[in-house]
Structures are given as structure tokens and as C-alpha cells.
């Protein structure tokens, strides 16, 4: 698989480390009333779709940036690659 890095261009996926579902970017609010439930869910349950999956890849052997890659889990086709930083900022985070 080739990941088209937004800054560095096409890179082999073996340069990256895979973390999983991009939902992990959004940590639950630790002060919420049901924070415990939310964290158990955050830590352990996964959508695990057959089809499009937004997922976190870390460019460990490159510029060490985190990417959000949209990939089809049935065909391995990659359709979108974004910097995780940009995705988090668009979602309202400061960094």
C-alpha cells in the first residue's frame, strides 16, 4: 500500500506504524458524568467496518507526523490522506 502523504508525497506503508480507528483522536471528556463508561468504550469498542475506514497512521520512519487515512478495508484502496493535526483543528481542537 502506498500512502500519499500530504507533505512528503507517496510513501510506502511500511514506513508507518498503524494505530487504528481515527475516532481515537477524540478523547472523551474526563469530567463528564459518565466519563468512565465513555473511556471504556473509547479504549475497547471499535466500529470495525467492512468498507471505508478512517484510521490513524504514524510516519515513524519519516517526518513523524500522524495522518488520518481513509482506506477501504475490503480492497485496501486509499482514497484520502490528511494530517491528523488538520483534522483535529477542524474538529475544534487547539492543537
Amino acid at each position: 500500500m502506498i500512502i500519499n502523504h500530504p507533505l512528503l508525497g507517496p510513501r510506502d506503508s511500511s514506513e508507518f506504524v498503524y494505530l487504528g480507528d481515527a475516532r481515537l483522536l477524540n478523547r472523551p471528556d474526563w469530567q463528564a458524568d459518565n466519563a468512565l463508561e465513555q473511556f471504556i468504550d473509547y479504549g475497547h469498542t471499535r466500529e470495525n467496518p467492512a468498507g471505508l475506514h478512517r484510521e490513524l497512521w504514524y510516519h515513524e520512519q519519516g517526518d513523524r507526523s500522524w495522518l488520518v487515512v481513509t482506506r477501504n478495508t475490503v480492497t485496501h484502496e486509499i482514497t484520502q490522506v490528511e494530517l491528523a493535526r488538520d483534522v483535529a483543528r477542524t474538529g475544534g481542537r487547539s492543537k
Binding site: M1, Y18, L19, D41, T45, R46, N48, A50, T73
Partner: protein, 416 residues
């Protein structure tokens, strides 16, 4: 029909005209007492033990393709019970004991061969870990033996034990472990279940559940609605997909695992051997091919095929361990979809819906578990209580904190 030596001779003399199909091909009935979703090893074994051990009837196994088309027909066939943790070891040892009597029980040649497994060790720390694991195994009624370098070399003289980086210091042997013919396990259970009246319905994909209130009523399938008092899902890599029909999200990710086989060679590898400095396991099939595999590719996948970086990684480990393998030609490689759980351990439990049960999260170790998984799942379905050896495989263990993390990797499925 019973299979026997006498039968083989009789058929040989009469032109093999009397064999007939090993199981029927029935149409689904409108309703069953038990529906098992998934005609892999676990689903077929569950149906068999429900009928045989728990004396239940009106049972169907629904399989979306043909039986054995999933992981049961794709694995590297290693059967062992060399686990460390209390939640696991009694279950896997129960499984190994069932394997030991399986062929007589099923009247089917599953080519179960207790040729032994050696986990190689390459450091002092690994020796300590193996001693601890071996002791845990012995405490649970399994067998384990620590071998030094000389003893390993007696069995495998061609091993590269003097590698500067990863010298082989010895190994942990489980002599009762071995391999079984994977397809024959599926076929043997299918035939034996069919003989006890189980309907095995192929080309029948479950596409939804009919749930009224908090009770299961039946399943929607590609061959129409089928009613059921109890439904047990047993779909390995498709677990998240199928349980989502009941609104459930699971502590599971689906990942692809590849396996490889070389051209047929003369006997070189008497037992199963695993590399302790990486993740590589190898045995020789009765046809002569070396069958081996390594890690999962490491990213979510439902593709049933992997990518080249893992092929390279597995080959590197193979050559590091047995330099002589460099002359063997690779015949085939393939992939299967693993239901990787968050702690690397399976789940066999009820769900929040009455009459709906779940069995999955087998990671890449579910073949060895086939007999026990079927047995304890049948126990759960028939009695609504967990079998003694499977009390820890709870779905809610991630909430209660009772994870069973054999490798100590935490909630990162691609590291188990």
C-alpha cells in the same frame, strides 16, 4: 455409513460406488430450536456437541459460502495448549484432550498428529518466561519440557543456533501438541453433526436478526426468514459485521493474516517449531510442503489477502532460522480474516438480547480451540451457564477490568 478399514477394502473391490455424500444438503426449515451462524470449525463443532453431549435437536448451521471456506480451511493447523494464564490454559488443555480422542469420536480421519511443538528461546529472559509458562501448563494438567541447545539440535540439526544476534539457547517443548488436517476437521464435524440430524445449510448468509422486545425470534437470511429459539453467532472475522445487525459494537478489529506453503519436500521437519526472536511458526504437511506464517499485516482488513511487506518479513525470519530454506520454492500464499480482540483472548458469552449468543475474538489461535470452543459454546447455549473451563471469556471483562492479556500488550489488537 461408518468409515472403517473394512469399508475401504470393500469399496476398492466394488469400484467405489457406495460412498455417497458425507452430509445432506437440506433446504432450511421454517423454524429451529438452535441456529448456529457460521459453518467454520467452531460453528460445526458447536452443532455437533449440542446434539451429542447436550442431547438437543432441531439444530441448523447457516453458512454464507461453503463450509470450510473461512479460516478453518486457511490456517497453519497448529494444535497446542501452551498458554500461561489461568483464564486460558484449562480451556486450551480441555481442547487438546478432545483433539486426542477426536477421530474416534467423529469416525473421521482428521490426520491429528502429535508431533510436538518447540518454542525456541534466544535469551536468558526468554528462558525465565518459558520456565514460568511451562510450570503454569503443568499445573493445569498439560505437559511441558525445557530443552537445552543440545536437545534442540538432536531434533533439528539444521537450525542456525549460533546466530550472533539471536542464538538458540534451547526451547520449550510440548510433546502432545502437533498438527491436524484443517479441512478434515470441518468435514469430520459436518458429517458427524449431520448424522445426528443437524441441518447444514450452505450458501445461506445471515443478513439480520428478528428481535422482539429483548428476545431473539429468528434470523433474516439470503434464503428467507428462519425462526429460532436460540441463535449462536460463530463467524470469526465477520463478528463485527454480524453482531452489528443486533446493534452491538464489539471489542474486536478484523485483520488479515497470511500463510505460505512451499513445494513438496522430503521429510525435513519432524515437528512444529516457532521462532522466539520474532513471530514465525513452521511445520511440514504430510504432502511434504513446509507450511508457515508470521504476524498479521497489522491494519484493519476484510480483504482475505495481504500485502508484500509482511511476505518479506516472514521470509526473513524463515531464513534467519533455517538458512537451508533458501533453496525451497514457495508454492502459494493466502490470507484469512482474524477477529482480533482487544486483549488477544476470545469471547464466549450471552449478549444483552435473550437467546442471542456470541463466540468470537479468536485472533490467530482459534484452530486449536475448535473442539473446546464447540463444546463450551454448546454448553452455554443448552444450559445458559458457562462451561467450567470458559468462565473467564466474558464480553463485559473490558468493563470489569478482568482482561486476559496473554502477551501483556494492552488494548492494541494488532500487537496480540
Amino acid at each position: 455409513m461408518r468409515y472403517s478399514g473394512f469399508r475401504v477394502i470393500k469399496e476398492a473391490l466394488t469400484g467405489h460406488r457406495g460412498w455417497g455424500p458425507a452430509w445432506r444438503d437440506p433446504d432450511p426449515k421454517p423454524e429451529y430450536d438452535y441456529i448456529i451462524i457460521g459453518g467454520g470449525g467452531h460453528g460445526l463443532a458447536t452443532a455437533y456437541y449440542l446434539a451429542k453431549e447436550y442431547k438437543q435437536s432441531r439444530i441448523a448451521v447457516l453458512e454464507k459460502g461453503w463450509i470450510g471456506s473461512g479460516n478453518v480451511g486457511r490456517n497453519t493447523t497448529i494444535v497446542r495448549s501452551n498458554y500461561l494464564l489461568d483464564g486460558n490454559e484449562p480451556f486450551y488443555e480441555f481442547s487438546l484432550k478432545l483433539w486426542e480422542g477426536l477421530e474416534q469420536d467423529l469416525n473421521y480421519n482428521a490426520m491429528m498428529s502429535q508431533r510436538g511443538i518447540i518454542n525456541l528461546m534466544h535469551s536468558d529472559a526468554q528462558r525465565d518466561a518459558y520456565i514460568r509458562r511451562g510450570n503454569a501448563m503443568i499445573l493445569n494438567g498439560a505437559d511441558a519440557q525445557l530443552l537445552d541447545q543440545k536437545q534442540v539440535l538432536e531434533k533439528y540439526p539444521f537450525l542456525n543456533v549460533k546466530s550472533a544476534r539471536f542464538p538458540v539457547m534451547g526451547g520449550l517443548l510440548q510433546a502432545r501438541a502437533g498438527t491436524a488436517r484443517h479441512d478434515a476437521v470441518a468435514w469430520g464435524y459436518a458429517r458427524a453433526a449431520d448424522q445426528r440430524g443437524v441441518d447444514i445449510i450452505q450458501n445461506c448468509e445471515v443478513t439480520g436478526f428478528r428481535i422482539e422486545g429483548s428476545r431473539i425470534r429468528g434470523v433474516e437470511t439470503s434464503r428467507g426468514y428462519i425462526g429460532a429459539k436460540k441463535v449462536g453467532a460463530c463467524v470469526a472475522g465477520s463478528s463485527s459485521k454480524v453482531m452489528a445487525y443486533a446493534g452491538m459494537h464489539l471489542p474486536i478489529e478484523s485483520h488479515v493474516l497470511q500463510a505460505f506453503v512451499t513445494e513438496g519436500l522430503k521429510p525435513v521437519l519432524p515437528g512444529v517449531i516457532t521462532y522466539g526472536a520474532g513471530h514465525f511458526y513452521c511445520s511440514q504437511s504430510d504432502k511434504g510442503g513446509l507450511v508457515f506464517g508470521g504476524n498479521i499485516d497489522g491494519y484493519n482488513s476484510y480483504a482475505q489477502r495481504g500485502n508484500l511487506p509482511m511476505v518479506e518479513d516472514v521470509m526473513e525470519e524463515a531464513i534467519a532460522m533455517f538458512p537451508m530454506l533458501g533453496r525451497a520454492r514457495l508454492l502459494r500464499s493466502w490470507g484469512g480474516i482474524m477477529d482480533m480482540s482487544m486483549d488477544g483472548t476470545p469471547i464466549i458469552d450471552k449478549t444483552h438480547i435473550d437467546g442471542l449468543y456470541f463466540n468470537g475474538g479468536w485472533c490467530y489461535g482459534g484452530f486449536k480451540a475448535t473442539p473446546a470452543s464447540g463444546f463450551v459454546y454448546a454448553h452455554l447455549l443448552a444450559t445458559d451457564t458457562p462451561h467450567d473451563t470458559a468462565t473467564a471469556f466474558r464480553l463485559d471483562r473490558f468493563h470489569t477490568g478482568h482482561m486476559i492479556d496473554e502477551k501483556g500488550m494492552g488494548n492494541q489488537p494488532n500487537l496480540h
